[in-house]
């Protein structure tokens, strides 16, 4: 009997132990069985996902002279000394799988020589001019091949407002080697009219309508090319209204422009990866417009990767253009159109530049960013008609 009792006790013990072991075991197994639900694997579906954040600061220091500037003697060229501080911020975020937004905020703080002189047509109170813009582009990936984009922008200065609306559609080939993009845009400017003596004459409008076609093509695993044609029609007041033209009587008259301008630009780009972990980029552009300006621009950039995270760039750009048919530095008073804007003169321009960029993998350890970007660039721009600009730019960015 005692043996029966002992067996019973033993049975109970074994049963309890086994049950406990099974329960514990299954709990262990359950613990190892990580959930396989959509949320457990893909994470919680966030309505907005930050993709990248980039901030850039650029400083432009310009010096030279031009006949449009009033910072000089009547009949002679005036100073075009100018400094610009330009911070910019760009935020890119995704909304769901198909929608992507880009928000861009540039701010310009301009210090110029011309407005300081009297009559102070541009700036009644200050030699400084601030401008701020907000630009929002939304892209919708309708299918794997088709992407539609909508761009809205507003630009505000003390005496200037500008609104832009753009639409574009991109079509990719089945293997995504070729992309064709067509875009239209409409910009409306609204600004105060000041004459050359600084007197205000209400407001003026300017309309800029553009259509562009771009074809990009992957040519080989190391080569990509792009062709772009753009047609722009401008109408309304096309000058700044307060610019001066020296007259043959030794005085200064107001500039005046045609009421319409048609512009054609054809651009070709080619990028080639080089065997020594470098790249070459070539840019060519032909331009023609109804002001009588014909221009040609060529740019060559050579890039070299120094390590996985660092590359450097050297660039050279050359630009030649003929002058507008109504460019003059000695006009007869009352002649229209007439301009002394040195931008519209026959000129040549060269730009030399260098840049170093860092793309540092931070593996989500720094502000949750996968990559942190830093770059510093310097450029010197010089024009044959007495103008040069030094440009310093630096950026910090995060890719999430």
């Amino acid at each position: 009997m005692p043996s029966v009792k002992r067996s019973l006790v033993l049975f109970v013990l074994v049963f309890v132990t086994t049950t406990l072991l099974v329960l514990t075991g299954s709990a262990v197994v359950r613990a190892e069985m990580a959930p396989i639900s959509d949320e457990a694997i893909l994470g919680r579906r966030e309505p907005i996902v930050l993709e990248s954040l980039l901030a850039r600061y650029t400083y432009f220091a310009q010096d030279g002279s031009g006949y449009q500037s009033k910072a000089g003697p009547p009949g002679g060229p005036g100073s075009e000394w100018l400094h610009v501080h330009e911070p910019q911020v760009e935020v890119v975020f995704r909304q769901g799988d198909r929608i992507r937004h880009r928000l861009w905020l540039p701010i310009d703080i301009v210090t110029a020589a011309s407005p300081v002189t009297k009559p102070d047509a541009v700036s009644a109170a200050s030699r400084y001019n601030q401008a701020v813009a907000l630009d929002w582009t939304t892209s919708y990936r309708a299918t794997r091949a088709v992407t539609l984009s909508l761009r809205e922008g507003v630009h505000v200065e003390r005496m200037f407002r500008s609104y832009v609306l753009g639409l574009s559609a991109s079509f990719a080939s089945e293997n995504e080697d070729r992309t064709f993009t067509v875009g239209v845009s409409q910009t409306n400017d609204w600004f105060d009219v000041y004459d050359v003596t600084g007197r205000r004459h209400g407001h003026a409008n300017r309309s800029t309508s553009g259509v562009s076609f771009a074809l990009s093509q992957v040519l080989s695993p190391t080569t990509i090319g792009e062709l772009n044609y753009g047609l722009t029609v401008q109408a309304g007041e096309l000058g700044n209204t307060w610019g001066g033209v020296p007259t043959n009587t030794g005085d200064r008259d107001s500039e005046s422009y045609p009421g319409r301008r048609l512009r054609h630009a054809l651009v070709g780009r080619l990028a080639q990866f080089l065997p020594w972990n470098g790249a070459a980029r070539v840019f060519g552009r032909f331009y023609d417009d109804t002001y009588g300006i014909v221009a040609f621009t060529m740019e060559l950039e050579l890039l070299q990767r120094l390590s996985r995270a660092i590359y450097v760039r050297a660039s050279y750009r050359a630009h030649v253009q003929s002058g507008a048919t109504f460019y003059t530095t000695r006009t007869t008073p009352g002649t229209s159109p007439a301009t002394a804007d040195s931008d519209l003169q026959e000129l040549g321009a060269r730009t030399l530049g260098a840049k170093i960029a860092f793309d540092i993998p931070t593996g989500n350890t720094f502000l949750g960013a996968r990559t942190t970007h830093l770059d510093v660039a310097y450029e010197r721009y010089f024009r044959t008609n007495d103008l040069h600009v030094d440009v310093i730019s630096c950026a910090v960015g995060f890719r999430f």
Binding site: F60, W104, S212, V218, P221, T222, A265, A271, T339
Partner: protein, 70 residues
Amino acid sequence: MKRLVLCSIFAIQLSCVGGVGPARRAKLADPMMQFSEDSLETHRKQKLESTREGAAGGDGAAAGGGCACQ
């Protein structure tokens, strides 16, 4: 003109070797191979040119010339 024809023939021959496809774009994905490394840099370059050259713009970029915006 002769050079142009030769160039075109060479280009066509080059291009007809077959498609590349997205899986062979390791080199093309390098930031060095982007025509514009970032859009803020593109803007600063366009700004420099469009306010100093009457022939800038017209190709989707800001139109310049005849305007004293800096």
